[in-house]
Amino acid sequence: MNPKRKQRLILVLFLVIGFSSVVALVLSALNENINLFYNPTQIANGEAPEGARIRAGGMVLEGSIKRDESSLLVIFEVTDYNASIPVAFTGILPDLFREGQGIVAMGRMDGDGIFQADEVLAKHDENYMPPEVTDALEKAGKLPDGQDAIKTDAVK
C-alpha cells in the first residue's frame, strides 16, 4: 500500500474509532434514560423516580388478575419473579394480555404503593410456535426452556 493510501486509511480508522467512542460514552452516560421501562426490582429498590410518570415492565403474575365487576378496572401484579408491584388500569387491554405475558405499563406510583397505569402494552417475546405444537407440548407437560411458567395458562 502506498504511503498516501496508508495515510488515508489511518484517517478513516481514526474517524470511525473516534466517533464510535464518543457515541459509546454518550450512550453509557444516558444508559438509564434509554431503558424503556423499570422492572419491579428497580421500583422496589427505589431506583425509579418517585411521583414521576414512568414505565414499569415485567410479567403478569399468574393468578393475580382481578377484574372489577361494574367497570373496566383491572388490577394485577407485575413481577420479574424477584419483586412484584400491583398495577391498576382502567381501559381496554391489548389482545396478548394474559397471565404470564410480558407487559409494559405507563403511569405513576400512588401513595398506597399501587402503580396507576394509563396505558398497558403487551410485550411479545422472540418465540414463535404453531398452535398444534403448543397443544401437544402442553399435553405432554413439557414446554421449551423458560416457557413452562408462562404458557400453561396462555395457550387455551
Partner: protein, 247 residues
C-alpha cells in the same frame, strides 16, 4: 486477488460483467420472492399467540436485515472510495442509499402495522425503534448530500464520511434489545443458537431473506449501471455502446 480488486474498480469491466449477471439475478429473485411469499402466506402455520398477524415477519425481518446490510455495504464502499479513490465505490454509495432507505421505511412501516394489534401501539420511542428511525435519517442524509453537492467527487467524499460515521448506529440497532429494556423483542434468529421458531416457519423466512438479497443486488446493479453510464458518458466505450444500441 489484487488484479480482481483493481478490475472491479474499472467501471467498464463492472458494466460488462453485471450485464451478464443481471438476468440471472432478476429471475432468481423473482422465483425466490414468489415461492417464499406463497409458502409464507398460505402454507406456514399460524402462531399460537398472534395467529395470522405474525406473517408480517416474512416482510419485516428481511427488510430490516437488508436495511442494515445495505448500510454496512455503503460504509465499506465509502471507505474504499476514500482510501483507494475508486470511482466505482462512489457509484455504489450513491446507488445504494435510496434502496436502503426504502427497505428501512418498509421495516418501520410493517413494524408499526404489526405493533398496533400485538403491542397495542403503532409507535413507541424504545431503543430499537428509535435507532431504526435514525438509520432512515442517515440514508436521507446521504441522499441529500448527493443531490445538494454538484461535484461528484466532493459529494462522494461527504457521503462516504457520513456513511462511515453512521456505521456506529448499526451495532446499536443490533444490540439495542440486549443492552436496554425495550418493547421490541430480542432476535429470534442468531448465528450461534438455533432459531426460537420451528423449521416450518423459518424455512420460508430464509427463502424470503435470500430473495430479498437477490432483489437488492438486482436493483443495486441496475442503478449502478445507470449511474456509470451517466458519469462515463464522455468516454469512448460508452459512446460506442450508445451508438451500437442506437443503430
Amino acid at each position: 486477488m489484487w488484479t480482481f480488486f483493481h478490475k472491479l474498480g474499472s467501471p467498464k469491466w463492472f458494466y460488462e460483467i453485471s450485464g451478464k449477471w443481471l438476468p440471472w439475478l432478476a429471475v432468481l429473485s423473482a422465483i425466490l420472492l414468489v415461492a417464499g411469499s406463497v409458502w409464507a402466506l398460505a402454507f406456514a402455520p399460524a402462531d399460537y399467540q398472534q395467529g395470522n398477524s405474525f406473517r408480517i415477519i416474512y416482510i419485516h425481518v428481511p427488510a430490516a436485515f437488508l436495511a442494515q446490510s445495505c448500510f454496512i455495504m455503503m460504509a465499506i464502499s465509502g471507505a474504499i472510495g476514500l482510501i483507494w479513490k475508486m470511482k466505482i465505490a462512489d457509484v455504489f454509495v450513491k446507488a445504494a442509499a435510496p434502496i436502503g432507505a426504502s427497505f428501512t421505511f418498509l421495516a418501520l412501516l410493517t413494524g408499526a402495522i404489526w405493533g398496533k394489534p400485538t403491542w397495542g401501539t403503532w409507535w413507541i420511542w424504545d431503543a430499537r425503534l428509535t435507532s431504526m428511525l435514525i438509520l432512515l435519517f442517515l440514508y436521507f442524509g446521504v441522499m441529500a448530500l448527493q443531490s445538494a453537492i454538484e461535484d461528484a467527487t466532493t459529494a462522494a467524499k461527504a457521503s462516504a464520511i457520513l456513511a462511515l460515521v453512521g456505521m456506529v448506529n448499526i451495532p446499536i440497532i443490533k444490540y439495542s434489545v440486549e443492552w436496554w429494556n425495550t418493547l421490541h423483542q430480542p432476535a429470534t434468529f442468531t448465528l450461534t443458537e438455533k432459531p426460537a421458531m420451528p423449521a416450518e416457519m423459518w424455512v420460508p423466512l430464509l427463502v424470503m431473506v435470500i430473495g430479498y438479497y437477490c432483489f437488492f443486488t438486482t436493483v443495486l446493479f441496475l442503478r449502478a449501471r445507470n449511474e456509470i453510464l451517466e458519469r462515463e458518458r464522455r468516454t469512448n466505450w460508452v459512446k460506442k455502446l450508445v451508438s451500437k444500441e442506437a443503430a
